[in-house]
């Protein structure tokens, strides 16, 4: 079967990055997934080069590790942790939906129409609640609140 010629622009521009659109909650998760993914990739690139300092010996390593204990870097480490937790759990949602879980069974298109996005929403909410709990738990550890 021949495909109709696509006359629309294929690029979507910056608007799709910043707005949830008709998908609402999941639309904003999509935006955050991209922002957190880009941040994690940048961190990974830095991480590869910084941890290479172990080749320079114990003294260099210990000096570098001591430098990571500054409040600013501890906070940035926490942001990396938050990005990881969000990206991981939202990614679990995306894989489940990709494989056809939690999207409901096919139904007759009777009015009022119910979109698949509404059937997926409980999964998104449950995973984001878990994300919030893990981010709070990590905050107690990573932001060095007094441990018991």
């Amino acid at each position: 079967m021949t495909q109709p010629e696509n006359t629309q622009r294929r690029t979507v521009g910056i608007y799709r990055w910043l707005a949830g659109g008709r998908r609402g909650f999941e639309g904003y998760l999509y935006v955050l997934h991209r922002i957190s993914g880009t941040a994690l990739l940048l961190f990974l690139a830095m991480h590869v080069f910084f941890t290479a300092a172990r080749l320079l010996g114990q003294e260099t390593w210990e000096r570098l590790m001591a430098a990571t204990q500054s409040p600013v870097l501890i906070f940035l480490e926490y942001l990396v942790y938050c990005a990881f937790v969000f990206h991981a759990l939202n990614g679990v949602r995306l894989i489940l939906v990709e494989l056809g879980f939690a999207v409901g069974k096919p139904d007759h298109p009777a009015y009022p129409y119910r979109g698949s996005i509404h059937r997926q929403r409980p999964l998104a909410i449950v995973l984001m609640v878990i994300t919030g709990l893990l981010i709070a738990l990590g905050g107690f550890e990573l932001l060095r609140f007094p441990h018991g």
Partner: protein, 123 residues
């Protein structure tokens, strides 16, 4: 067809990363919480513990697997985003080549450091 294969590899990488990075985060960054659950855990950033980890064959293999899967997943995602902005065939070739090169440089660097450290220790 090739893009479908990339997509499937990307999903497979995501699952591997979820497990390995989950363990990495737990051990390296949430050690105080881990200590509450399992008793005492070694200080992850201390030089001696880092050397012991770096010399373990299992750890070296897992580090390289995590590095490779994370780089593929990361640069595949970055490429997808960039292709939404620049979709001409020429731009697509440049973006793909850039992502492969950057990912390759990081993979070779990370792997070389890990293997050299495992074999020789600090220089």
């Amino acid at each position: 067809m090739r893009e479908t294969a990339y997509w499937l590899i990307n999903i497979a990488c995501a699952i591997v990363i979820l497990v390995l990075l989950g363990v990495h985060m737990g051990v390296m960054h949430l050690d105080a919480i881990l200590a509450r659950l399992v008793g005492t855990v070694p200080e992850p950033l201390a030089w001696e513990n880092m050397v012991n980890r770096g010399k373990s064959t299992t750890q070296v293999v897992l580090y390289i697997v995590l590095l490779g899967t994370a780089l593929f997943h990361g640069f595949y995602g970055l490429r997808t985003m960039l292709l939404e902005f620049f979709s001409s065939d020429r731009a697509a070739r440049v973006i793909t080549a850039g992502c492969v090169t950057a990912g390759g440089v990081l993979f070779v660097t990370g792997t070389a450091v890990t293997v050299v450290f495992a074999l020789n220790g600090a220089g």
